[in-house]
């Protein structure tokens, strides 16, 4: 009898901890997205050159891969997440300025932003409602991601617009898988650090937004 109570208590404690990670992740994610929006607007106002995007993405990725894991369990981790997301947002400035200068630019940016929001919220709601375990996707998504990086590398030399469109479409599919995978890991206790969970989900949102911008930008040119 006591053992049953103990099991129920353990499950309840685990569920509370999971909910806390989930709540903190979404809270930090929403704050970092707002901060990114602010730095992107700042970058647009400053009229930063195109190389800002490249420098910010490489800098942000290097900090995310090598610095953040060391500070993920300390309060400094939150500051580093804001630094990374602020840098990535700042890098978006010249990209958004370029799209805004297109005849249909405002529409493309609005649709990409709205589309990214719908995809993220839809997939998160699906993972949360079904409570399915998507841990089996890990290997598949990582291999897919590496193949996309290889294809993107090849396309720097080949410069094929159709391949660029295809890469963006595949990135959206893979990032959608990562949203399911990451959300499922939080729900099932595989990810207990909300700082790392936030940066993972932020990266998926960032990549979906950039890919949608590229797809809609290419499609609007076909008129």
């Amino acid at each position: 009898m006591n053992q049953n109570y103990s099991t129920v208590a353990q499950r309840s404690t685990s569920a509370i901890a999971t909910n806390k990670v989930l709540r903190n992740t979404y809270l930090l994610l929403s704050m970092t997205l707002l901060f990114s929006g602010f730095t992107a607007a700042l970058s647009m106002l400053m009229n930063t050159p195109p190389m800002t995007y490249l420098i910010s993405v490489i800098g942000g990725m290097v900090i995310a891969m090598f610095v953040l894991p060391r500070f993920a369990n300390s309060p400094a981790g939150i500051g580093i997440v804001f630094l990374i997301t602020g840098m990535l947002g700042f890098g978006l400035g010249p990209v958004l300025s370029m799209y805004a200068s297109l005849p249909n630019g405002g529409n493309i940016i609005t649709l990409s932003l709205g589309g990214t929001g719908v995809i993220f919220m839809g997939l998160s709601a699906y993972a949360l409602a079904t409570k399915k375990d998507f841990s089996f996707l890990g290997g598949f998504l990582m291999v897919g991601f590496l193949l996309v990086l290889l294809a993107a590398l090849a396309n720097i030399f080949l410069q094929i617009p159709a391949m660029s469109l295809m890469i963006s479409a595949v990135v959206i599919m893979i990032m959608s898988g990562f949203i399911l995978y990451d959300t499922s890991r939080i729900i099932h206790g595989g990810e207990t650090n909300y700082v790392l969970a936030t940066i993972g989900l932020y990266m998926t949102i960032f990549n979906i937004f950039i890919s949608l911008l590229q797809i809609l930008g290419i499609m609007s040119n076909d008129d």
Partner: protein, 59 residues
């Protein structure tokens, strides 16, 4: 080929080298999904593809 493309290519090569061991490890320790599990992934991805096509038609 300008210097930005060269830096992009070098950065992509660095990312591939960095992610490769993690990918190999994930494949080794990856739990197997059933056909029902895969359908739970494929259906939302198809929905996303339809949604993106719809967005592309709006621009």
């Amino acid at each position: 080929m300008d210097w930005m493309e060269i830096i992009s290519a070098l950065a992509l090569i660095a990312f591939i080298i960095f992610f490769f061991p993690a990918a190999r490890e994930m494949i080794k320790n990856n739990p197997q999904g059933t056909s029902s599990d895969w359908m739970g992934f494929v259906i939302p991805v198809i929905a996303i593809a339809i949604f993106v096509t719809f967005l592309a038609m709006l621009v």
